[in-house]
Amino acid sequence: MFKTKKLIIPAIALSVVVLIGLLSINYKAHAKAKNYAVSSWEGDYTLLARLVAGEAEGEPYLGQVGVAAVIINRTKHPKFPPTIADVIYQPGAFESVSNGLVWSRYPSRNNFDAARQAMSGWDPTYGSIFFWNPYKPVSPWIWSRSIVTRIGRHVFAK
């Protein structure tokens, strides 16, 4: 009898913690969805800078220009949709869009500069349409692309 009582109290405490945890996760998801709606008013430039912030945080400046240039190259490529927004929002195309990172970080001045430079035609990746981090798990087919260069932790390929 005494023993069960002792067990019940920690069990209650644990369930309360779990419950609060569940609710707070839910709350966060809700907040993110709101950010999402606001950003749809922003221009291509800001959207591009956001993607750079989400995908190339901690990368050297040139690597950031490279990531932005890949987006620009995709809009001109027949194998990808024709606008910057279509390319960025293509489901599953970018990890930072799938996991919401792209909305939680505000782009730095560097990110904006990189986006601007890529939009005005600067392309250190020579027309690449893919980039990936080789230390993270990626679809094996991607290695069949022809690799152009490596900047920071990203591999760029056509």
Binding site: P60, P124, V148
Partner: protein, 449 residues
């Protein structure tokens, strides 16, 4: 006794809370999942409709005997094919090699638009072009069939977008949509031919290769020496040079980073071509504080700079000011013809007037001794063709790239209408109007749109 009751009540409340929490979380997740599924389905059904429209339109465009009708149909095909590209892009197929279908729609639309343009100009449509149209019809028929089959499975509930099985009620294993799409995509890749025509999505555009650069293959240390020399021209201070890699773009190159003494991150990055040791581009990433130098002086600085590195006879064609830098484009002039495809770009910092960016990729890729055609039309004939409302400021010859990167010799007419400035390009070959650009003067510089 009382205590025991108390514990039971707390337990019940907590249990109730847990159930409620789980229910609210899972019901939200459930509705979010449904909304997502709905948006995917919307893309899918839009695609089905667009493909079915394309199927009908292509057959009709082959049957019709009226060219006016045909032009309408072909432009509608272009429109529907662009719509299909957007629909396809809303479906969750991102991590698959699902690009053949995108390309198919892009080329179908682009090609139809092109043929429509030819019909408008009353140009002859060749047998080969009709054959391509027939091929497109065959492909779209089989695509239509495959998608219809997929749709039947979807409405029978056999296929869902999310290919994870339902964890709570594991009734049946549902098949993933992405797998099915991949199969159709691969089939299309086998069936659809590669085609070359006058549009931006033609296969030849992807495969632009650089003309052979002059000079011999250089070593890493030679490249470093060349880069060092280039850096000394544009930046003061002691830099350490590191060759950080090789780039296999359309011009194979060494990538070299320059780090100022005492800094940890590189300041200047430069690509030097493996053949001939040409500087392809460089970028100085230093902070630029304030702008003290007027644009006109920045332009002079840029001009002096490119002359000092042996880019002679270049004409500035436009500038864009952003933050504290200005980027100026230059194009070479050959026998008084401007060669627009071979542009270079120079970025000047407005705090000190230093060159902080240089890009000669287009020049190094395309510039060669061209055989420029003789204009078949005179300047006077161009003037007679133009709208009488325009006041002409200047006419000169220019080589411009069209959408398919083919070069055309044109008269560039710099003209004004209602105090707006335009550049009008009239083919020197046949007098057709090839392009109109509107010049927009902003506080950031001169841009053309």
């Amino acid at each position: 006794m009382l205590k025991k009751k108390y514990i039971w009540i707390i337990n019940l409340i907590v249990l109730g809370g847990l159930v409620f929490g789980y229910w609210s979380v899972s019901s939200r997740a459930f509705s979010a999942e449904n909304a997502l599924e709905a948006s995917y389905q919307r893309g899918f059904y839009n695609l089905l409709e667009q493909v079915s429209n394309l199927n009908i339109l292509i057959s009709k465009s082959e049957v019709t005997s009226s060219n006016e009708q045909r032009i309408m149909m072909l432009t509608t095909i272009w429109h529907q094919a662009e719509g299909a590209r957007t629909s396809l892009a809303t479906m969750p197929l991102g991590d698959r090699d699902m690009t053949n279908m995108q390309k198919f729609f892009a080329q179908l639309g682009d090609f139809s638009y092109n043929i429509a343009g030819k019909l408008v100009k009353k140009e002859e449509i060749s047998d080969a072009e009709w054959e391509k149209m027939r091929q497109f019809r065959k492909n779209i028929q089989s695509l239509n069939k495959d998608l219809r089959r997929l749709q039947e499975d979807v409405s029978a509930g056999k296929i869902r977008w999310e290919d994870k099985p339902d964890r709570l009620i594991a009734v049946k294993k549902v098949q993933g949509m992405a797998d099915n799409f991949e199969a159709i995509d691969q089939k299309l890749k086998k069936e659809a031919p590669t085609i070359t025509y006058d549009g931006p999505f033609s296969d030849h555009v992807e495969q632009v290769t650089a003309k052979t650069l002059s000079g011999k293959r250089i070593s890493e240390s030679e490249a470093t020496a060349i880069a060092q020399q280039a850096v000394n021209k544009v930046a003061k201070g002691d830099f350490r040079a590191d060759v950080v890699g090789r780039t296999k773009g359309n011009i194979p190159a060494y990538t070299i980073e320059f780090t100022k003494k005492g800094n940890t991150t590189p300041n200047i990055i430069m690509d030097v071509s493996e053949v001939g040791g040409h500087v392809i581009w460089f970028l100085n990433t230093r902070e630029i504080e304030g702008s003290k130098i007027p644009i006109k002086r920045a332009l002079d600085k840029a001009k002096t700079y490119i002359e000092s590195i042996d880019y002679k006879n270049m004409e500035p064609t436009g500038s864009i000011r952003e933050n504290n830098t200005v980027t100026i484009s230059f194009v070479p002039k050959e026998n008084d013809v401007l060669l627009y495809p071979d542009f270079i770009k120079v970025e000047v910092a407005l705090d000190t007037g230093e060159v902080v960016g240089f890009n000669a990729l287009a020049y190094l890729t395309l510039h060669n001794k061209r055989k420029l055609p003789e204009p078949k039309i005179t300047e006077q004939e161009v003037k007679d063709k133009l709208s009488p409302n325009l006041s002409i400021r200047r006419i000169r010859l220019a080589l411009i790239p069209d959408e398919a990167l083919r070069e055309k010799l044109c008269y560039e007419v710099d003209a004004e209408l209602n105090s707006d400035r335009y550049f009008i390009y009239i083919s020197a070959e046949n007098g057709n109007e090839e392009q109109i650009l509107k010049v927009v003067e902003t506080d950031k510089g001169t841009m053309t749109m």
